[in-house]
């Protein structure tokens, strides 16, 4: 953290230790300073960086344990109250979309993995669906079941990590240890299937890479035998914890209209009473055949955002139970040519990732690589609401709001 007084960057200043007036330090402004060393580029920026009496700027990040990656937040504070916030992003911009334009369709699927690195399978799912629309290929039914199965497992471990990190940012260390136990179980299970622990690279255009194997199934059965009990145990640790409830209830309240105007999706939107879930609103894959509820809360505060995710874990377990019971036989991969060149065209596909609507827009010009490919990541849109949500809250509560929005910087910056 770097506290900066009311001054513009790029100018000389006298260091704090210089009681001797003869000593002054010429200090060039760096990007680390809260105040950017450039003249304001917009009215909003000019307004944000002009300080009134009693206000100061506080720089959080990009290296800060609570900012979930390399997000940098400049907070304008009065005392301990946050008056205004300015998130600075781009510290993890890796140019994935541009790399995808130079790769053929198979290679794209491995490149999109590390975008939203906690839900890699969902990252693959949207581009795969878009490419399948371009190629006009039908996915075998068993492959669709396997996709839903592994994607719901991925959703469970993502929400598990969310539970741990929210508690960690509020000051409780223990829940994150339980989260990682749960996460490691699921991830080892998926590694038995896909060969990787984070960036699974399992989906293919026209199906999935391999069929289910016995090790995966035995691990899955082992985990399913205690999954619900484990969720209950984890939630008893957090749900009625007095500190967590007092710090999160009524914090960062947003109503449904504002949330829709800010283009929030996913559990953050469902916590405001809007029952929008891509799996139900724009059904894809085999979700229309499955029974599950869309958990909705009306409060719209941080605690509701947490509870919605807990309910979603239970619904995902319910989905996995149905998928295992109804899994059909058959191939897991459609017959595809080795080198695939679709006709020119465009395709858009969207899925429900743990953070919301995750979409992919792909354009084909008739060659074996996409002409343009764009990813719509929900973390980016959810992060927009950080500023309205954390106005006039304490600094530590702004951190809790940020944790409850669950942005993943890999997805925000791409």
């Amino acid at each position: 953290m770097t506290a900066t007084g009311p001054r513009r960057g790029g100018q000389s200043e006298t260091a704090g230790w210089a009681d001797d007036p003869g000593i002054s330090v010429e200090r060039p402004a760096t990007i680390w300073d809260a105040v950017p060393p450039i003249s304001p580029r917009s009215e909003r920026e000019a307004e944000f960086y002009s300080l009134e009496d009693g206000e100061m700027l506080l720089n959080l990040g990009p290296q800060h344990p609570s900012t979930h990656g390399v997000l940098r937040v400049v907070a304008k504070i009065r005392g301990e109250t946050v008056v205004d916030l300015d998130p600075v992003i781009g510290y993890l911009h890796r140019g994935v979309e541009k790399i995808c334009e130079q790769s053929d369709y198979h290679m794209c699927l491995s490149q999109v993995d590390p975008l939203d690195y906690i839900s890699a399978l969902h990252n693959e799912w949207a581009p795969v669906m878009a490419f399948e629309k371009l190629f006009d290929v039908r996915v075998p039914r068993r492959a669709e079941f396997i996709r839903v199965l592994v994607a719901e497992l991925n959703r469970i471990y993502s929400h598990n990590l969310y539970m741990g990190w929210l508690a960690l940012d509020i000051g409780g260390l223990t829940p994150v240890l339980y989260s990682f136990i749960e996460r490691d179980e699921i991830v080892e299970m998926l590694a038995a299937l896909t060969g990787q622990r984070i960036l699974f690279n399992y989906f293919r255009v026209g199906g999935v890479n391999w069929d289910l194997n016995p090790e995966f199934l035995s691990r899955l059965a082992d985990w399913m035998s205690h999954a619900l009990a484990q969720v209950e145990a984890n939630t008893t640790l957090i749900n009625e914890n007095e500190i967590l409830v007092k710090r999160t209830k009524g914090l960062g309240v947003i109503d449904g209209k504002t949330a829709l105007a800010l283009n929030m999706t996913g559990p953050n939107l469902r916590a405001t009473g809007v029952p929008f879930d891509v799996r139900r609103a724009h059904p894809f894959s085999i979700y229309p055949e499955l029974e599950f509820d869309v958990p909705v809360r009306e409060e719209g505060d941080t605690y509701a955002r947490y509870l919605v995710r807990v309910d979603e874990i239970k619904q995902s377990i319910r989905i996995i139970d149905q998928v295992i019971n109804e899994m059909p036989d058959g191939p897991v991969m459609a017959k595809m040519p080795w080198k695939i060149t679709p006709r020119p065209g465009r395709a858009w596909a969207a899925i429900e990732s743990p953070r919301g609507l995750y979409g992919c827009y792909a354009m084909s010009d008739g060659t074996n690589r996409p002409y343009r490919m764009r990813i719509h990541d929900p973390s980016f849109n959810n992060l927009q609401s950080l500023q309205p949500l954390s106005e006039n809250v304490m600094i530590q509560d702004a951190i809790a709001v940020l944790a409850s929005l669950d942005p993943v910087m890999g997805g925000v910056d791409k």
């Binding site: 760096t30 990007i31 680390w32 990009p62 290296q63 800060h64 344990p65 990656g69 390399v70 781009g90 510290y91 993890l92 911009h93 890796r94 140019g95 994935v96 541009k98 790399i99 130079q102 491995s110 490149q111 590390p114 690195y117 906690i118 990590l161 994150v176 240890l177 339980y178 990682f180 136990i181 996460r183 490691d184 991830v187 622990r197 984070i198 960036l199 910087m409 890999g410």
Partner: protein
């Protein structure tokens, strides 16, 4: 059997390059019932570790002998302590950070191997684990973090992106290997490496610290040919030939 009842000895044969007088700490606290145990047979004329090693008495006996004299060259001693409490910096950049956290939590417990708590402040940490893709925008802040860490410090490059650019070799915004901007002690490849891989890399770092005991300042920036004293790779250049390299920041030879 030497005379153990004698008091602490004065340094008789201090080497010319010793930094200070030896610290003499008489052991008034305990003594073994068996005077020959715990390396108790060490001749009292030996006051420095290198004399001890030249004498042929090595291993735990030499290290955990009677605390009558602790040799000088404080780095040599302190590095042994540092090896057994490596404090990494809690700094995650991307995907590898999840595996780093997984290595630190219950299932793969890094604490067992004395890589102790993750510190949030660079002022208190020894090891910078660069976990994840380093972009050009993040390079400045990361370099600043590295410079804020007090010496002695070590750097572990975790993941293919930090080792060489990895899957972002064709990207316009990624630093193609962090050894272009800062020294690296241990490379842990993998995309991302498993937590066991990170723990193995950190144990390699512990070996390296022991091998370089007291000479931690001799660190080069960028990839360089292995040197003899690294102790981990004996296949260096020709004997007597020192490869040319340019120290960039504080890399005094």
């Amino acid at each position: 059997m030497p005379d153990l009842s004698r008091g602490p000895s004065t340094p008789s044969a201090a080497p010319p390059d010793s930094d200070a007088e030896p610290i003499v700490v008489p052991n008034d606290f305990w003594s073994s019932s068996n005077p020959a145990a715990y390396g108790g047979g060490r001749p009292p004329s030996i006051t420095h570790l290198h004399e001890l090693e030249a004498d042929g008495i090595q291993g735990d006996n030499g290290r955990w002998g009677r605390l009558d004299v602790i040799p000088a060259r404080s780095d040599i001693l302190l590095d042994l302590l540092r090896v057994n409490s490596l404090w990494p910096l809690l700094s995650g950049l991307a995907c590898c950070a999840i595996e780093m956290m997984s290595a630190a939590t219950s299932v793969n417990d890094m604490d067992r191997f004395s890589m102790f708590p993750f510190r949030a402040s660079p002022r208190q940490s020894d090891v910078l684990i660069v976990a994840g893709t380093l972009t050009t925008k993040m390079a400045g802040p990361l370099l600043r973090l590295w410079e804020e860490m007090p010496e002695p410090k070590w750097c572990v490059a975790m993941g293919d992106c930090t080792v060489s650019g990895g899957r972002y070799k064709r990207s316009y915004s990624v630093v193609q290997g962090i050894d272009r901007i800062m020294p690296v002690d241990v490379y842990v490849p993998g995309c991302p490496p498993r937590p066991e891989g990170l723990i193995y890399g950190m144990m390699k770092l512990q070996q390296l610290i022991v091998a370089r005991r007291g000479r931690w300042a001799e660190r080069a920036v960028g990839p360089r040919p292995p040197r003899k004293w690294d102790g981990m790779n004996e296949s260096g250049g020709e004997p007597g030939h020192e490869p040319e390299w340019s120290p960039v920041s504080g890399g005094a030879r």
